[in-house]
Every structure is written in structure tokens, then in C-alpha cells.
Symmetry: C2
Subunit: 499 residues, 2 copies
């Protein structure tokens, strides 16, 4: 095997390649000899060599071949692979699918369709045979081409790091990893092994597994770049190895930051604390947005740079009323202290707030609980002050109110706000303000204000308590209070602070 | 200005460029209008355009020009820049140096020497004029070329992220940042501004500021890559912007991990906890090693990938006796539970351990302290057991020993170990073992064992106590003990555990 100009690597004999692979199988791929290993074998030199080394190293190999049926001689390829398996007495599974039909039906390129069908088959079989991993034979050249392809098409760290030597992808199977032991091995070393061991691989003249773009990279761009740096392939391989490590660090850091700033997540939305998110660097903001888009659109393969930039700009300078549309029918908007990424038709349910129907007036009992709907309720109790131990009304707990019973005119009732409603917040000296002004200083979003329940006097209609937020000053417990009404806002059995 | 084939960008009129730059100056460059700003001006379109916009936006600009004297018309360039400054009534400083001579003397390429002299001049002037920053006019094309150059030569995240819009470099000045507001601006937009404002830039035909390699990239590689993706320049610019954010995350994470695993650092060495370092991912190990090399070799500009890989392999599988040589006369070796990166002639000082001269025999007083050198000392006290409160000998404190006085034959003295010394460690039943076997189970490095002080009996020579490590079983306090000798090992005024 002559060396290509500019290539530099040590030539090992096959013994040394096998030996070198032992450590890779064990440490980097984490393959165990007591478990079955399913190898995807096209019949080409790479997969044949890898299967042979795995087999000779004592791994219980299952040979899996997918017949794409894209070439006339594909049946011949399948027979060759079967022969390889039979010679070694290895289990052999074969699958086939109408790739052309899948491509048509799912509007994929032939290559995408082939990839999809092939991996589905491999992981299906791995599951059936309880294999510890699906092993494929991508080599260092494939890695370099992948990195270059990502580089030219535009990619972040995730793309520039190239393929991973061991990875779990929910796209295929959340428990069975995809393993690529040959990522650090150059093609020449594989061909040398094939020759020395007199293996008989399939040489696919049409190269149907690789796109036109990849072929151009291999036969045109890489030789061209070699003129700039004879070591360019090795340089790119190292770069991808380095970036893999950095990628793992970034992923971990983003995960940690995500947990720090996420306030809630559910079907169709994710919400983050604006102040916490804003304090983070641009890289974190981008990473968290990207992760959020991935959560909401798990099948989206490429997230556009501009989308994330637009999102990060909005995080930095959000407008309270504004919302921006991101890709894939996602919107970004503010509510309270949170920024939401959500489906474009997602509405934050008002059931997260206490709400009653507008116009309704609900009398409160002397003692008992009134259900407001959506798990919310208000409880009323009346006490003689002398029966209470301590001075509980002095505790800061906005979920409860202690009302001086004597100040209530008529009885207590619940209603929603009316035009011109006034309110004198507890602790505020002087006269009352417009209820609409009071709302502004709360974190309650506009859309929840209209149907917010207010505790009022049935006569005179004064607002006694805005549940969950503030008691009115004139109704507070004073030194000469003898009888108190205790009001509590619940959601389910909770009386915690509103978020 | 005709668009080059494959280039895509919006064409702004100069009003829009100025406007766009306002936010960049303020937010990304963090330039303040109340402080002076020094701009490095070659006289080319980029630096002239940048100076003009800064000046028109109300920044107090100082125009600084460095005359490289590499071309015949360099004096003419200087005059043009001076004219530009005079027209606007701006302070103008000029510097010059014999770049060719510097290159010869310091064995640098002409370009490296020019860069060095130029930046030294700019930062010197910035310091003198108390400028808030040195501003230079690298544009988006420069950024793309820089990234490509790093990509082809092999680079990690630090290189692939390209130049930073604002950076502090200890290479020039630890307090004055280098700022590059034009990194996101394409050349065409700058040339358009120059044309509309009828500025008169220098067009350097020899392009002495750029290397041959960079010129090849500009005129050959980039047009070639454009055939693969017409957007390739924009794609690379975005990539570098993205990677900048990721780089910041990685730097922060490495800093945090560094603090978790470093055990000591001083001139010529840095030491890290092996178990902590080993638990970290490969990316962290690489990052910490790279940072350690940078600490010990601040002037090293490129750290070879292989060096770091070799180091990380050693971290993962260190040999106790082995050491490996890294680049730049650095060695990596193990001592105790720490891995050291150090100058190749660095010796860990034995003064971190208690040591006495071999052969010496030091009598211990009945009561008092014996200095061992290097701040180490041993203190002796004698008590009647009935004068002690509690049972202090039952406390686990290996810095102290409580000896049953009756078991001591003769008096106590200090000496170093002798061939065949035996020792029965406290708590170990049966007979004594060789002292040399005892050492093996300690974390004390071999080189510190020879001169380790041992407390012995002057008659019979039995070892009573290995200070800092273990009392001998026969000398322990028992039920029938009446008189005790209390021994304490100090370093300075400390009696803490040996590390």
C-alpha cells in the first residue's frame, strides 16, 4: 500500500493494529467480552477488518448486514458478508428495506433514507439479541471528512468535534450505545490488515454510502488542503479529539446552568428565570436556548445560528410586551420574571393563578372553605383574639390575612375587580390608590388580573384583601381588636408563596 | 464596490455602519466616551474607517501609527495618517523600530517582529496617555483568515474561536484591553464607507502586514472553499462567534476544576491531587495540563497536542517510579498522592518533611523541644498519669505520641533508620516487621525516608515512635501505666496531619 503524498503515520502490521485496538475496545469503547456485540458490516474493508479484530480478540460478535438494494450487486455483497460470518461460525443477521421508497415517502435524500433504515435495523437487532452495543467501522478519514463537512456547512462545537467513539442517541435507542472503535485509525492501516490477513472485502465502486459532497471532500478538498499543510488530516483528527473533550465540558456546564435557571417545563413550553439567565455569559445563554429548542423539537437536527442569536439578544434586552418567533413555530416571550420558550400557539394556563368568573359575587361563609376552581380555594375562620396564642398576624405570610372583624361592613364576599376600584395596601400610609396602580408593582401578569378574586365587604364594597398579595390597611388587626377573621389562600393543600 | 462572487451581506450606507458600531463600541467593546481611546492606525482603509467612526461618535481618540520601515513609501504612509489626525485635531503619536534588526536579533520572522514592536509601541503609548484600550481594526475577513489559519495548522478551541472583540493579554498589558470592534464587519462595508466619506487610505501593495500564508488563504483557499459553500465566510465567522462563547465556558470550568485539584504551586512546579484529577473527564485533564504548562512557561505560544495527550495518558495510568518529559524541559511525575508538573531540574524540597542528618543521634531532654531544622521540632513532656485529665492517648492524633515511661530502656533519642531496623506498629498484634516494610504502606516518598527522624531508646535501640506516623505497640499506655512521656511533632507552630 503506497503512502499518499503528505500522509504521515506509522505503519503497523496487523498484529500491532489488533493489539492497539484491545485498549480502545476496553477503555474508550467500554466493550465487555462477556456480552454480545453487534457489528454493522457492509462488507467493505473497514467493517470486515473491525469484525475480524473483534472476533480474534474474543468478543462474541454478531454480524449484521443491511442490504440497501440500491445496486445490482448488493445481493452479492450480502453473500460475501454471510460467507465471512459462516467461516468464523458467527451469528449473521441480514435486513433489507426499500430505501428508494422510504426516501420518496419521507422526503429524504437517498443517503438519509439509507442511513435511517440501516440504523433502525441495527438497533432493532441489537435489542433483540441483547447486544451491549452497535459497533460500526467509521475510520479516521471518515472522521476528518465529517469534521470538514460540518466546518464548511457551518457548525458549533457539537459538529466540529465530529463523531464520538461511544455515544447514546435517543434517535435509535436510549440504552444501547453506538460505538466507533476505528475513529483514530487511518484507512491505510486497515487496508494493510486486509491484505495481510487475505480478507476479501467488497469494494463499492459507486460509493453509495457517501454523498457526492463527501466524495468531493475526499478526492478534491483534502488533497488541496494538504498543499497548505501536509499534516492536515492528522491536524483535523486531533482537533476533533480535543473538541470532544471541550464539548463534554460545555455540555456539563450547560446542564448545570440549565438547572440553575429553569423555573418550569411542561408539554410545549420551558420557562427560565430572566435575572439568572441574564447574569450568565453569552455562551451559556446560547447553550440553554439550544437545549430548550431541542427539548421542544427533539427531531430538529440543525438549529440555525441566527435563531439562537436572535433568542440570546432577546434574553439580554427583552421587551415585556414583545415576543419573538424562532424557528420551528416556537416563540420566546416574557411573563413575570420568567422568559418562556413555547409552541407558537401555547398559552400559559391561567390555572396557575387563583381565578374566578368575572361578574360573579361569591359570599364567604363565617367559617369554611370556598372552592375557586383549578384546585384553588379560600378558607375562612373566625377567632376571638384571646383564644389565639401569640400574634400570628405579625408574621409575614402573604398567603394569609388577619382581618379586624369589627371593620368589616356587612359580610365578606369574593368578586373580581371593577373599573375605579381603589385599595390601600397594608403598611402604606395616607390614602388609597387605584387598584390598577397596585397591580403594576406586583409580578402578576396582566392576563391574570382581570379574573383575580378579591375579598370585599358586601356593604360599601371596599377591598379587604387581594388574596396571595396584600391586606388593605384599614382592615388590619390593631390594639383594640377583639375578634379576627383569618383568611387563607390554598392551591390544593399548599399555601406557599406565589411564584 | 462590486460584490465578490459568493459573498452575501447587506450593504449599509456609512450612516448605518456608524449606527451599528455604536452598540458594538458600548456593549461588546465596553468603551466609555469619557475616557481616551488609542487607535492603532496603519493608514489602511480599515483603521482609517474605524478611527473616523470612533471620532464622529464622540470618542476621544488618540491616533497611533507605527512605522515599520519595511517599505520605501512607509514615511509617506506616516504623513498620510498624520494628515488624517491633524484634519480632525486629534492627538497623533508615531513610533518606529528596526523590525528587520529585531527579527534578526530575536530570531523571529519579519511578521512576528513587526507585530511585537507594533504592539509594544501601542501599549506603551496607551499607558503613557492613560487610554482605556488599544483599539485595532481587524475585520471579519481577517477573522475568517485567522480561524482558517488556525484550523489548517491545528488548533484547539482557543485558536478556532479566532480573535476576541475584547481581550486582556499579559503579553502586552494586564490592565489595558486590546479591542477589535470590526471583527463582525466585512471589508466591503468598510470600503463603501471610505468611498462615501472620501477618505484617502493607504493601499499597501506589498501587504507587508500579512504573511505569504495569509495571502494564499485570502486569494486562493477562500475562493476555493466558496465553491463548496457560497456562504463559507459567514459560516466561519459565526462559528468563531459561537466558539468564543464555548471557550469562555470551558475556561471557567477549567478554572474551577483547577482549584479543586491543585494541591500546591510554586516557582518551577505545580502539583495536583491524582485521585481528583483522575476522576475528571479527558477534556478537564487536558485543560488543566495546558494551564499548568502555561503557568510554568508563560511565553510558550503553542502547546503541542501530543504533549498534552502524553500528559493526560500519564495522569490516567501513572507509574509510581516513572516520569515523563514534556515539551520545554518540563517533567511530569508522581509523589505521594500528587502529580507534579515541574522544571526538569526541579527537586521537591525535602524540607516539607521532618529530616535529620544521617548518622546523627540526638538525645531528647526530659522536658523541652529539639529543633530538627527547616522549622521542624519535637517536643517532650513527662506527666504522672494521675495529673492528666481524660485519656488523651486514646485520641487519634498521629502528630503526638503517648509513651509508657516504664517501657523505655535508657533515655529517648532521635536517629535515622539503620539497615534491619524492626518496628511493631501500634495496634498490630504479633511480632514486629521490618521498618522498610512499614514505609511501603505510608504515603511518604522514598527520598524522604532515609533521613526521617525516629524516636528510639538509647539502650537496646528499639524504635518507639516514627514521628508523624506511628507509635510502636510495646510502648503504648496500658492499664498499669503510671508515668507517661508525651511527644509532639511540630512544623513551625503547626501540629496538623502530614499531607
Amino acid at each position: 500500500m503506497p503512502l499518499l503524498k503528505g500522509q504521515r503515520f506509522k505503519c503497523y502490521n496487523h498484529g500491532m493494529l489488533s493489539e492497539k485496538m484491545l485498549a480502545v475496545f476496553e477503555k474508550e469503547c467500554r466493550l465487555e467480552k462477556i456480552k454480545k456485540t453487534l457489528v454493522g458490516v457492509s462488507g467493505g474493508p473497514d467493517s470486515l477488518c473491525l469484525s475480524d479484530i473483534l472476533y480474534n480478540s474474543g468478543y462474541p460478535v454478531i454480524i449484521a448486514h443491511f442490504n440497501h438494494r440500491l445496486r445490482a450487486d448488493s445481493d452479492e455483497d450480502a453473500r460475501k458478508v454471510m460467507h465471512f460470518a459462516n467461516e468464523r461460525n458467527l451469528p449473521f443477521v441480514i435486513g433489507q428495506g426499500d430505501v428508494a421508497e422510504t426516501a420518496r415517502a419521507e422526503k429524504l435524500s437517498l443517503e438519509e433514507a439509507a442511513r435511517k433504515e440501516r440504523y433502525h435495523f441495527l438497533f432493532d437487532q441489537a435489542r433483540v439479541y441483547e447486544a451491549q452495543a452497535v459497533v460500526v467501522a467509521h475510520n479516521a478519514e471518515d472522521q476528518v471528512e465529517t469534521v470538514l463537512m460540518h466546518f464548511l456547512r457551518g457548525a458549533g462545537l457539537a459538529g466540529l468535534k465530529g463523531m464520538s467513539i461511544r455515544t447514546l442517541s435517543t434517535e435509535w435507542n436510549a440504552e444501547i450505545p453506538l460505538v466507533r472503535p476505528f475513529l483514530g485509525i487511518w484507512r491505510a492501516e486497515i487496508l494493510e490488515y486486509i491484505q495481510e490477513k487475505k480478507l476479501d472485502p467488497v469494494y463499492d465502486s459507486s460509493n453509495q454510502d457517501t454523498t457526492f459532497f463527501r466524495n468531493r471532500l475526499r478526492h478534491d478538498l483534502i488533497p488541496y488542503l494538504t498543499a497548505y499543510n501536509p499534516q492536515v488530516k492528522e491536524v483535523i483528527r486531533r482537533m476533533s479529539a480535543n473538541l470532544s473533550g471541550d464539548f463534554a465540558i460545555v455540555e456539563e456546564a450547560i446542564e448545570e446552568s440549565w438547572n440553575k435557571c429553569i423555573t418550569s417545563i411542561g408539554p410545549g413550553f420551558a420557562a427560565f428565570s430572566i435575572p439568572i439567565l441574564q447574569k450568565m455569559g453569552r455562551g451559556y445563554q446560547r447553550g440553554i436556548l439550544r437545549k430548550a429548542v431541542t427539548c421542544l423539537r427533539p427531531n430538529l437536527r440543525d438549529i440555525d445560528f441566527d435563531v439562537i442569536e436572535k433568542g440570546a439578544d432577546f434574553v439580554q434586552n427583552p421587551t415585556r410586551t414583545g415576543r419573538i418567533d424562532l424557528a420551528s413555530h416556537l416563540k420566546l416571550f416574557i411573563e413575570g420574571k420568567a422568559i418562556y420558550l413555547a409552541d407558537e400557539n401555547y398559552e400559559i394556563p391561567t390555572s396557575i393563578w387563583p381565578q374566578i368568573s368575572t361578574g360573579e359575587e361569591i359570599p364567604l361563609p363565617k367559617s369554611g372553605r370556598v372552592e375557586l376552581g383549578s384546585s384553588w380555594s379560600v378558607e375562612v375562620e373566625e377567632f376571638s383574639l384571646k383564644d389565639l396564642s401569640g400574634e400570628p398576624w405579625k408574621e409575614k405570610n402573604i398567603q394569609e390575612a388577619w382581618v379586624n372583624a369589627r371593620t368589616v361592613t356587612g359580610t365578606l364576599c369574593l368578586r373580581t375587580s371593577r373599573r375605579g376600584d381603589r385599595f390601600q395596601p397594608f403598611g402604606m400610609a395616607g390614602r388609597s390608590t387605584l387598584l390598577s396602580d397596585f397591580w403594576i408593582n406586583t409580578h402578576i401578569p396582566r392576563r391574570a388580573r382581570r379574573d383575580w378574586p378579591l375579598v370585599c365587604c358586601s356593604e360599601g364594597n371596599s377591598i379587604v384583601w387581594v388574596p396571595g398579595l396584600r391586606l388593605a390597611e384599614p382592615f388590619r388587626v390593631t390594639q383594640d381588636t377583639s375578634q379576627v377573621v383569618h383568611l387563607t389562600l390554598y392551591c390544593g393543600s399548599l399555601t406557599g408563596k406565589l411564584v
